[in-house]
Each structure stands twice: as C-alpha cells, then as structure tokens.
Symmetry: C2
Subunit: 481 residues, 2 copies
Amino acid sequence: MTRLTVDNINPHVRAAKYAVRGELAVKSEEFKALVAKGEAQSLPFDNVINANIGNPQQLDQKPITFFRQVASILENPQLLEKEEVLLNGLGYKSDVVDRARWLLKHVGSVGAYSASNGVPAIKESIAKFLERRDGFPANPANIYLSAGASSGVNTLLHTICANPNTGILVPIPQYPLYTATLSVLDATCVPYYLDESKNWGTDINTVRSAYEKAKADGTDVRAIVIINPGNPTGASLPEEDIRQILDFAAKENLVVMADEVYQTNVFVGKFHSFKAVLRRMQQETPGQYDGVELASLHSISKGMVGECGHRGGYFELCGFDPEVEANIYKFVSIMLCAPVIGQCFVEMMVNPPRQGDPSFELYDKEHSGIFEGLRQRANALHKAFSEMEGVQCGEPQGSMYLFPTIDLPPKAGEAAAAEGRSPDEFYCIRLLEATGICVVPGSGFGQKDGSLHFRTTFLAPGTEWTGRIVKFHKEFMEKYR
Amino acid sequence: MTRLTVDNINPHVRAAKYAVRGELAVKSEEFKALVAKGEAQSLPFDNVINANIGNPQQLDQKPITFFRQVASILENPQLLEKEEVLLNGLGYKSDVVDRARWLLKHVGSVGAYSASNGVPAIKESIAKFLERRDGFPANPANIYLSAGASSGVNTLLHTICANPNTGILVPIPQYPLYTATLSVLDATCVPYYLDESKNWGTDINTVRSAYEKAKADGTDVRAIVIINPGNPTGASLPEEDIRQILDFAAKENLVVMADEVYQTNVFVGKFHSFKAVLRRMQQETPGQYDGVELASLHSISKGMVGECGHRGGYFELCGFDPEVEANIYKFVSIMLCAPVIGQCFVEMMVNPPRQGDPSFELYDKEHSGIFEGLRQRANALHKAFSEMEGVQCGEPQGSMYLFPTIDLPPKAGEAAAAEGRSPDEFYCIRLLEATGICVVPGSGFGQKDGSLHFRTTFLAPGTEWTGRIVKFHKEFMEKYR
Ligand SMILES: Cc1ncc(COP(=O)(O)O)c(C=O)c1O
Ligand SMILES: Cc1ncc(COP(=O)(O)O)c(C=O)c1O
C-alpha cells in the first residue's frame, strides 16, 4: 500500500472540481491522439474540436504579428546586431525593433527572474493604459504581474480567505477556477445565481439574499467575485449593474474582485471597468465609496491577443491596506515571479501599435479581423442553437462562449442516471463520442437545480462542426423522446 | 478601516517567511532604482550586486545561443517561411530550424494552452533524457511540466499535506520555498539539521532523531525533502547518503521529494539522482524498496541553462498511487498549464545539440565556458572568505552558493539587538548599505541556534565586488571588536 492514497491526501484538493479539464477533456485528448496516429477508423469523426476551453490559438486564431515579432527579438537579442536583416530580410518594421529594444532595456534578459510583482517599467506601462482606459489615475505600485489571471485569482483568494468560515460571493454559473480554489482553501463559496431571463445579468436582490442568508448562517462574507464579461454566460454587464454591486459592496464592506479578462470580447454595448465606475461614483458622492477595496484582473489569454500559453496577466488593487499589500507581495515572491516573456506580452497588449506607427496597419487589420470573425461565429452558432429543439440561448454579448439551456426528455435523464451521470454530462459525453466535439456540461459551472446547459466556445472556424452538433442533437432527441 | 487588515487576512500567509526576497531584496531594488536614475551620489557605491538570488542571467551568464535561436522561431513561426534568411542572413544552423519545426509540430502555437500536465511530446523527450541519465526506464505519463520547480513543489506539498498535523522533514538550512509553502498550508515543518562539519552532508541519525521526535509528538510525518545539490549549502551528496535516506524512507514509509534543480552545478564528485539510486537498490534487493514513492524535481532556472524568467520545470513521480496522480493532475489543471515556451526550454535542456550536430560546437563552448566560469568564481570567492577574520567556509561543491559561517564580536550582537535584528541580518544590512552587495542572512534559511551565516551566490563577474566584501568585513570587525 502506498503512503499516499486518495483517502489520506489533502481532502480539500480531493474535493476540488474542475470540469473544464475533467473527464470529457481527457477523453477528447485520447480521441485526438488516435486521430494523430491515424487510428481513428473506429471513430465516427475525423477530427476533434476542443470547444471546451477558451484557447483561441489552439483553434483558428492567429497570433498578432507585431507581438510575435517583438517576442522573437526578446528571445534572441542577438538579432538586434543584424538590424538590416530584420528590416529588409524579414520585413520587421522599425517599431518592432524599437519596442524590443525598449523592453530589453527595462527587462534585461527575459531569462532572468524579475522583481516579484513584475518588471517596474511594465507596471508603469499598465498604469498608463489604465489611465487612458478609465480616465482616472493608476499607481504602478498597486499593480502585480501574474502567470495568467489564474495565478492572480489564486493569490487574492489565498490572502483573503482566513479560515473555513470566510465566505466569498461567487456568481453561478461561474468559471470553476473560483470554486476549485475555494475548495482547496477550504473556504466557503457563497453562490449567487445569475439571471438567465435577463441575459445572465447580475440581480442585486439575488446577491443580497445570498449574502444575508450566509451571514445569518454565521459565515464571514468578505468579498464578491464578478466575472464581466461573463464566463460561461458571455454576459456583458451594463453600468447600472456594476453601480449596484459597488454600492452594495460599500454598504456591506465587501472586497470586490472583478475578473475582467474578457474586457475586449464585447459585442453588445460597451465594456465598463469596475475601476472606472468606482472612481466615478467616488467623484459623484464624495466620501461614500472611498473605502471600497477593489481588485481587478486582466490577462493576455483572451481578447484578440489570445496568448494563453504564455501565462501573462496582472491585477490592480485599489483601496487595499498597505500591510495587506505587503503580504500579497510576499506571497507572490514565494513563486519568484510571473513568466517574463508573458509580462512582455502584457506590455504589448496594453500598449499596442498606434495610428501612424509602422506596424499599425497590419495590427489593426489583424485585430479587427479576429474580432469580426468571433462575432460572426458567435452569431452563426447562435442561429444554429435557435433552430434546435429544446435549446434556448440568448443573443451573444461577449467573451468566447455560448451557454444554451437544454431541455432533455425524461428518458435521457433515466439513461444518464443509469450511468451515474447528470443528464447534461450524459449529453456532452454522447456528443463527444458521436461528433468529436468537446463541450462542458453546465454542472461544471453550476446551474439552477433542474436546469441543464452546456458551454461551448465559438472559436472553431467554419460551420461544418455546427452542423455536427445539430445532427447529433436531432438524433439524441429522437432516441430518448 | 479597510475590510482586509493584516490582522484578519489568512494567518498562514501572514506567517510565511521568504527572506530571499524580503527586506534586504526590497532595499537593494531601491538602491538600484537610484543608481538607474543617476541619483546614487549619496551612496558609497556605484552599482548594486544581487548576490541574494540564484538569477544567472541578471548577472553575467549569457543564454545558450541554440536555445534562444529556437525560441525566436517558436515565437515567430513566420520566420520559417524565410528559411534562407535564417540560415544565411542570420547564421542560424539547420538543427535550430529543425528543432523549431519539430517543437511547433508537437506544440502547435506556443500561445495556446497545452495539456494540463504538459505537451505530450515534451514529456516523452524528458522520459528519454531520464533513461539516458539514469539507465532505467521512465514513463512520460508520470512526468508533469511545471512553471519552474517552485510550482512543482507547491503542487506536491498541496497534495501531500492533509492537515496541520501532517509533518514534512525539511533540511535546515533550506531554500525557504519549503518552509514558506508549509506555513501557507498550515502543515508542520519537521526540521533536520545538515552537518556543517561534514560539508553540509545529510546525517541519517540526525534525520532519524528529528523524525522520532516528531512522531513522538504525534505528528504524522509523511515525506522527506532533500535538496541535492544543496541550497544554500552547495553540498553535493555522495551516493551513500542517498542510499541511507532511501533506506530510511522505505522503512518508515515516507514519500521522498528530491529537489534536483542544481543537478548540473556540481564541481566535486558527480551528481547521483535519487531515481537512479532507488532503481539500483530495487534491483539489488528485490522487494525491499518497491514501495518507495519518489518525486524528483528539475528546472530550467539553474545549471548552464539559467532561464529563470521562463518559469520552466518538471517533476517525475515514481511509485505513486494512480488515484493520487489523478488528483495531482486535477490540481495542476486548475491553473491550466505551465508556460508553453518554458516547456519548450525544458525540452531543449534535456535534449541539447549532440556531437556532430551543426550547433554542437558553439553549444559545447558556451556550456563549458559557463561551467568553468562558475567554478573559478566559486573558488575565488572561497579564497577571499578563507582570508577573512572569523569567517569559515567549506570548499565549493556545487549549486550556485557559498554559505560561510561568520563569527561576529559580541558588540555587533548588541548593536543588532538594539535594532531588533538578529546579528546576521544586521551584518547583511550593513553590508548592503556599505557596498551595494545584497546577500541573505543565514536566518532566512535556518541555522543552528548560536551559529551565524550568510548566503551569497558566486554568479557576479569579476573580483572587484569580492574586494568590497573583504574591505567591509574588516571595517565591521574593527568597529565592533
Ligand atoms: C473568467 C476567467 N478568468 C480567468 C481565466 C484564467 O485565464 P488565464 O489564467 O489564462 O489568464 C479564465 C480562463 O478561461 C476565465 O475564463
Ligand atoms: C533548491 C531550489 N529549488 C527550487 C527552486 C525554484 O526555482 P524555479 O522555480 O525557478 O525552478 C530554487 C530556486 O532558487 C532552488 O534553489
């Protein structure tokens, strides 16, 4: 018998759930390996589509040329000694070379550890971006580079959660990083349900009653998480929703954690940052909102950047106690620093080529091409869903996902139960086996009891795969009717 | 009053100590900023030397050309469309292009998330390296890519530590990642002291008595950490020490965590991997050692690679229960994946150019140049220490550090106490203020009561800075005699 068994390891690690990369994802990798080895004859499909995870460059999204050209020089600074080859032989524009020089000047080698909270000059560049975006000052000292937003969330929750009684308000459905991390930390997730009937908006009364109930149970609720634009819902919050949340947080003295990694993936209306709205409220009603503690997170993984594999991101803290920040600094320093090339991608994301720069034209073309492509795919997928029996799906608003409700016949529920599965999981596994398309059951994100969903990205190119879903769904409904 | 205060945040985060990047490191960054701004007139030195952290490329170590050329193509695969420019204009060798193609074929885009435990082909390449290194089979399925070894240690300790009563045997002095992570996890660190009189070797009787004592106190001791070659000690363990530890671990049913990030930084004798020694013992005495669970860690940050900023590493598990491995897989998947370009550096580290390959000659020259440079600096620094009053330091054996004992006059102890500092901390702060050289006090790693040390890397080039230390030390001793 081994010393470590599933029964004696950390029970909180054991309890954590992370469906986005769970059984379905593992199964899809197995199918993929078969396809790669040319051994897919037995499978009813020729290729696997990972619609389970917002991983743009795994599918069709091409990296932005400017970013990658700069990165190639950062990786091999000796290229700067052959500037004429770069410019004439490889067609790099002069601003690519300039940016690489600037970054190398401030970073040193991308192979060296940086300061624990990130390269100072990159933090300054982020602060300037935030000032342009929000119209309010930002202080580089309150900015922390991270290995993707995931690591930022991990840091923040580790600091905030003091014991099992600490409660964190988390939207349901949610990106399971939150519930998984709270499990590992053995803290209390206080779920508040998003309102599907209002485009998955945040209803402040629902938030309040979840909060009141947890408080009545003795939970020390300290923070509220908001994902905007939403994952898995795709919802893009109107300013009014954000105001209500901030007002509520101020009154109840809650830390606000705004996960804004999809801030550029907005199709309907416009993105409102929590920081900008908070600062406006502070201006409008002096004194009333001064005490709000806000942490907002961003990432290079999403948007038109899509550099997931580089693990870059940052969070900004507003209104935090300096001693608490010192502990956050210490915590991140234990892992030394965020990947430095990822930090450089953050810098380029927040400070891309501008009108008039030699690389602007191509950058702009690529950027809007990706944006339009995403919008079109979202709409095409939405249209397909709207024609499927028992499937309901709101209009695409933002992020990279659609999260349709599925109404399955009772017989499907029985077949699922016979396999010890929830009906949505059963549906998704059958979908994968029949079509090679991997999506995530709604239960992976949380959903109201009795309702069923699945989440799919709209990143995969073409419409052929949408057709596969439509066909599968029809057959599934026939079979279990 | 803020919602989060230093008194109500996670007490285990607050309790964690991480001196390598603590007050001294922060102060040295401030000095550096002054120097950079040309405002160092008031300081008694012209430059700051970060000898506090094993960060080769921050100092003199140049990256290996082959690695960086390949990385430049991985970042910008469009370069492959101009192969003749790469080969003729930039002087890239054909094996650089081949490796980049091979990696891209298996990785896809370095901007995409990989599988949670790493790119399958890279895991296979690591397994082949382990087979060549150890002469025993390795299974890619038991290999997990990580964001530096730090993240590997974090994963393993998170899984192993079930509650405050879980004990982990940790060498003292140690790299503080271990004690800091155990603090955050609220688990019990069971210290065993290394034997300074025997070149900081591991004395099995000391280990046993630490273990017995903890057991008698009711601690559930589950694992033993070994850092070989050592940090901060530099000790490189003889095979006999490793055998004794494995034998002890087998008898007491302890998981072995072997931190082997300095495996190529060995000046005296040769590196023995725990895996190879374990497999030999298993062959020699069938049955007796079959149950040993071994996790061994490696990193791209150290050795002649020195790519700290890229955050790459891996760990291999031997003898772990598959259900436990499934939980480890799930845990790493919460953070999605290790930086993909860092994973590619791991592949290149374990599979560098070989004799006969076009890039071999340069690779070999750079590699041995770095190795020799480190050895020479280690010896020069050691010589300087041997001439300093009250300083004792064993011969350099490996890793990147010297860890001399310092014998300070009682008056220095009094002056330290007056500042609320330990004497070694006091010494290191004065050293930084007087010379711009940042080292870490022994208390940051743990040391026997009454003994004092500091740790310095021998990465900084030249001997001028060694002279600064010698001069400072003399004045310090005069002042407090
Ligand atoms: C809402 C949300 N937050 C955070 C993340 C983490 O992304 P990363 O760690 O790659 O920045 C994701 C990834 O899908 C996400 O959807
Ligand atoms: C003994 C030891 N283990 C692990 C690490 C972590 O290194 P990294 O996370 O960069 O691989 C270090 C870094 O100095 C170390 O000295």
